[in-house]
Symmetry: C2
Subunit: 454 residues, 2 copies
Amino acid sequence: MTENHRHRVVIIGAGFGGLNAARALRKAPVDVTVINATNHHIFEPLIYQVAAGVLSPGEVAVPIREALRHQKNTEVLVGWATDIDAEGRTVTAAGPDGTRYQVPYDTLVLAAGATQSYFGHDGYGQWAPSLKTMDDALEIRARIFGAFEEAELATDPRQVQRLLTFVIVGAGPTGVEMAGQIAEIAHRTLPGRYRRIDPRTARVVLIDAVDRVLPTFDARLSQHVLEKLRKIGVEVRLGEKVVDLDETGVKVESAQGTERIEALTKIWAAGVAGTTLARRLAASVGAETDRAGRILVGPDLTVPGHPEIFVLGEAMSLRDLPGVAQVAMQGGTYAGRTVARRLTGRSTTKPFSYFDKGNMAAVSRFYAIADLGPVRLTGLIGWLGWLAVHLFYLPRMRNRVTVLLRWAVSFLGRGRSEAVITSQQVLARDALRHAPEAQREVAAPTTESSSSLS
Amino acid sequence: MTENHRHRVVIIGAGFGGLNAARALRKAPVDVTVINATNHHIFEPLIYQVAAGVLSPGEVAVPIREALRHQKNTEVLVGWATDIDAEGRTVTAAGPDGTRYQVPYDTLVLAAGATQSYFGHDGYGQWAPSLKTMDDALEIRARIFGAFEEAELATDPRQVQRLLTFVIVGAGPTGVEMAGQIAEIAHRTLPGRYRRIDPRTARVVLIDAVDRVLPTFDARLSQHVLEKLRKIGVEVRLGEKVVDLDETGVKVESAQGTERIEALTKIWAAGVAGTTLARRLAASVGAETDRAGRILVGPDLTVPGHPEIFVLGEAMSLRDLPGVAQVAMQGGTYAGRTVARRLTGRSTTKPFSYFDKGNMAAVSRFYAIADLGPVRLTGLIGWLGWLAVHLFYLPRMRNRVTVLLRWAVSFLGRGRSEAVITSQQVLARDALRHAPEAQREVAAPTTESSSSLS
């Protein structure tokens, strides 16, 4: 087998799924190309702590080429994948400067995740960012800390109240964790630092149409978390649906009627949708998608009729598996091993089976829950478990040390190590105000020049 | 003396000068208002390490209100000061949302620093950012690491070379330190991570019209540094003047003629200029400015004829004092103490005298120079001195711990802890390309609504 004919695996996306697929191919006789829109892999379970000013971007993200540097058969290309030609087996992507390039594949692994769903109201996005990318996290951080700064300057009491009201839509893990963080910022970090406002008067509102928080967890744990959230000052509104959202507030609808909440800072943590890329691929190969736009895959995670195309994590739909990190990680490893196994001529492949290690969510300092099937932990015990698990899975040893120190600062003390607001966030926000439809596509191509990398 | 008649000190700028002035007024019977364009104080001597991916923003910057939280007579307002009415003793500023507000003063301390001077070619700014603000540092970081990413994708060898050429204009401490960092990134951090390019082929060019590097240091130290820079692979071009600069390169002029260097990444570290605000103030009170636009002050750091207006640091011009951190710090303390002393009825004030503790610059790992008057250190000894001094002056104990760890990662290892490129930098760069004149004024007012805070 000559160098020219090595089997080529192209992996789109370097989240948990893509990175694990690449790692599983470390020793396989293949050439691997990882294409990702940014230069970094994000440890998603902790990205909310960047938004909350606890951790720095470098503590929850690692350059992809650093993570894969010892893997000589693997290259990393920064690019926004825009098209997949399933017939010609070629991926088209746009580099950071907008130049398009093509990469041919023998096996394709689509691990590009999902985007936030605003349930048909994409215009909400500019007023209520979601928390998917590092940019989202920095943007939300600037909005939270910036709201207190603007409140200190505001002279109209109604404007002060509007600035000090934080609405989080969606009471899944991200929504619950963000609500807990904002409550801690208002009640523990910021008091004593302002002269005109009292940060403790801030109102943190968590809204969900479902009748409980953390609906994928055990019901008793949900009840515990609900009580804890209320205790730390979060106003939890369940069974209420957001029916409108604009620059200055949201309108919610419940059995009692509709109500408008005036709030300048909103965070959207409800619902995911398949990416444009996944939709295009599905259309071109005639694959089915579920209601959220995720591609229905077979038991080996490939697209029916296309054994050379794997779909992972939040991009795939299989047996109601949730869009969590573990499904993506295990799917990535499975896909990588399957590709390697096929090349050895072994034809039978066991179907993908998911081993659920359990779920965790940290509500506030010293309080987390862990739903480990038969074992359920709450409070301090749950929190210590959460701490240990997250430190263990965090990439890079040095991050574990600094993260632990940051946590000591935030949990034992009252500080936030990373509360810097840069002007670029303000600039970006202004840019988005004038072009909201561009929001999710900032890395999309801007020029039409083209080149072929093969 | 009633609360209404407390003497009011307004400090514009929370750099070393402004922060030290505020601190010196801690126990004085005055009300202090600090107005700053961002929410944070920057420890400027280390901001280049943010640009180089070594440190996080939160490690070299601290929220101003955190730094001053125990000072009950002091409030902090985020705003871009746009005008000073010396007659009516009022400062006008624009808040983050663009709303203008006025703050009256009895004593004014102008400590707003300086901006980068492009010697009449402000259009250079978009292609060669300077390193003054946190946004600048993140922008430069994204350009440096982004250039290697784009080079990995480029197919034209000339474009690869252009992407891998880094030009730094100005061989003062910032220029020397940035050149050293980029050389280390190319030679130590990135090798082994790319498959198509060799980062070690990167060209790092340091240009200055003067005939030696670090011209404010002892001449023998300059010579040492020059040799060290060449040893680590920096191409130092002295006695050469940049006569043109555009998107893809610079043109330099020397005794030998002119030459064009193709380079996509440029950093400007030459020359400072007074701010628009300082010019306006000087014009309205009839004060003189020096050639760089800095306000000439009397021996007590006040504007002639206006004993109630102090000017500090890079905004002031006095006896050729350099625009370094120490002058600003000592000036701030002097101004604060002078204000406090006046209120006790003591009329005589000793003129400001500057005690020069010496200068330091770190060229690469294990190599720094320290010019401490009679004592001059180079190499490892100089570097250990540099390390100790910077750790000592760094704000917040927790930063000292994490910074030390980051340095261990970079100096003992090869890593860079903070090499994340976000899309907002790309977005901001695109915005600047289309509106270069807006570059230095991103925090400037956008609306005309107005309120009075008093």
